[in-house]
């Protein structure tokens, strides 16, 4: 092997990941964001540190003195917001998001039992991976992020036929439908599904995403909007709930996703 012991690697490459790593700790973020109330703090902390086993007892203890909705909104959800901040700051990564979301969902399920009629959600979204496409990891991650943001997700899975998507939308009346595709020849299902929705008089955004899909394609058919990465799905959904239609989402897409 060539002797490379005297090579100055800084002349060849730059490790931006090492040089740019965030010095902040989860504890520092927690101090500024977690609730001051000691009971709610304990609940939020289980989400922040992904303590599956502790969230149940913490919620049960909180229910002795707090309203269930208070525990959810000011304990569990605040813990998850803290996790989202850590993710945005490159201190937490995808596995932490997944585990924290799981912890939060355990806590919410427990607290919800005390709310007559259950907790109201922000809205319902139908999600699927295109017909012929066996790859759904991106859709699964986006679904977790949507649930964590307070949305109800109807997850149709992968390899879903166009007619099944249309039928499900008619059945559950979501405010938005999403589809992911990893192959250029499976993503052609999206305009076909969108056209059938339009023909049925349904005018909701159809988010087309996934490895094969780009913004040009997503915006090439009526209803179509784009999401480049899973974390962009909740902020786009928030705008749809604010009343943005698919045309306005397209116009303001860069601003919404912080591009």
């Amino acid at each position: 092997m060539i002797d490379y012991s005297k090579v100055d690697f800084t002349k060849i490459l730059k490790r931006y990941d090492v040089e740019g790593q965030n010095e902040m700790t989860p504890e520092a973020i927690a101090k500024t964001m977690l609730p001051k109330d000691p009971v709610l703090y304990k609940v939020a902390e289980t989400v922040l540190y992904m303590k599956f086993k502790d969230v149940g007892p913490a919620v049960a203890e909180a229910l002795k003195s707090k309203d269930a909705l208070d525990i959810i909104n000011n304990g569990l959800v605040v813990g998850m917001e803290c996790v989202a901040k850590l993710y945005a700051e490159h201190i937490y990564y995808l596995p932490e998001i997944m585990m924290a979301a799981k912890t939060m969902e355990i806590g919410i399920a427990l607290a919800e039992k005390q709310i007559p009629g259950g907790r109201s959600t922000k809205g319902t979204v139908v999600m699927h991976a295109a017909e012929g496409d066996p790859h759904d990891i991106g859709k699964n991650i986006a679904a977790v992020m949507m649930r964590s943001s307070g949305y109800t997700v109807v997850d149709m899975g992968k390899d879903v036929a166009v007619d099944d998507v249309v039928a499900k939308v008619k059945e559950v009346k979501p405010f938005m439908v999403t589809g992911t595709a990893l192959m250029t020849t499976t993503m052609t299902a999206f305009p076909r599904a969108a056209a059938k929705l339009v023909a049925a008089g349904i005018n909701i955004p159809f988010m087309a995403a996934g490895g094969a899909v780009n913004r040009d394609f997503s915006e090439s058919f009526d209803l179509g909007i784009y999401s480049e990465k899973a974390p962009q799905t909740p902020p786009i959904a928030d705008k749809v709930l604010e009343g943005y239609d698919w045309r306005k989402i397209r116009e303001e897409w860069d601003h919404i996703v912080g591009a």
Binding site: M1, Y93, M98, I137, I141, D159, T185
Partner: protein, 463 residues
Amino acid sequence: MAKYTKMAYGSADEMVFGHAKEPVSYGFGIKVGAGRVIPELNYGPRPGSEASPEKLRKEYVDYIAKDVLNRCVTLGFPDVQLETEWISQMGDPKMATPVVEGQKAICEKYYEEYGINCAVRQTIPDQREAEEGYRPGMGGKHQYPEHLFQCAEVACENGADVLSCETLGGKELGDYATTNGDIVAFLFGIGYLGSIDMEYVWNEFVNIAKKNKAIAGGDTNCSGANTSMFMAGGMLDQDVQRTYSAVTRAIASARTLVAWECGASGPDKDCGYEGPICKAIAGKPCAQEGKNCQCAHADLQGNLMAQVCDLWSNESVEYHPEFGGTSVQCWMGSLGYEVALMNTAIQTGKQKELRDLYMITDRERGPEGHILAYDNAYEIGKAIVSEGNNYYLRAKAAGLKAAELIKAHNDAKELQLTRKQREVLEGIIKELSALPDDEDKFFEYCCKKYADVPNFNLKNYDL
């Protein structure tokens, strides 16, 4: 079935691009691993071309294949391998057959007219879904397992020179593992169950290929280790740690090897970045991708991956116009000139120098490339063959060796890691080291621990 328990190469330094211990010949004059590197051009048809068998054949044969072969002749490239990764619609023989036949015919035409050495790799789609069943007869509504073997038959009967596949065994656990950062789940899903699935599938593929006088090439853990690597992404991405993805690559190599143990002869698939490890063990030719596949993948080892390749690929590019011609022509030029450089190095006796330059440029760019540098890949290969007869133990040994190499080289300040990368690495070493040496105990432990992972079903592995 004999498993690899010793290395094909006596030392890492024996490995070099364009030379394999067991070269393979096929198609119209193609010789892989026999002293020169062959460019392999892969493409995707335009959306809409799947509308009918006629449109699809025209796209693949009259446009894509013809454009590629013309560009090779135009630029004076002596060899080319085409790779068709079947789109899902080609699961229907009416769609697939005209494409396979047409590509064979156009290769023959160019070989006869210009003397260009050429061949076609047909990479059939594995559409099996864990929820419907991985084995034939499990009753899924799409009958994907049955279609998988039918695709192999259709490909080989109609002119495939090389049969390949990116099989999905273990994916249900691999996806769970990567999204949750759970290396034991990856070891169980990809290293153990994935290997069992590979043995089943590749024994069938080898029989089908032999029957039709085609070459059974090999597999890749695209759905596992590549998912992990591409989620880990570049310097500023934040989904998966690159120390995790590096270890998944090593584990995946023990799985990819199974196709060759079943009798496949190589070349394996380009997107199997585990190729250097597998080649070190088996001596069979490997296809790789890197700097000349930017149309599809941006990875952190673009030069390094060329170090010991036998075929050099662009991964895949959608067919469309560019300023310099069609996309397939542009990427053919990119591949062809890189391969010409490698072959010039061989002809001038400078192949080891070029190999080392390729490797050194990316050796410290990140942990994934670091463990694939041929000296480290060789060490991981040795760990695998030391436990070669046991799928679990060899995959664990591969993962642990990769993790230990990264840690040692980080300690020695040869390889930089972020705090988080180091933290995850230490967690991996702790978890893998704590696993039992007994396969049955590992199996029992994992079946209990991962019982609730969606679509995990032991019947998929005949267990």
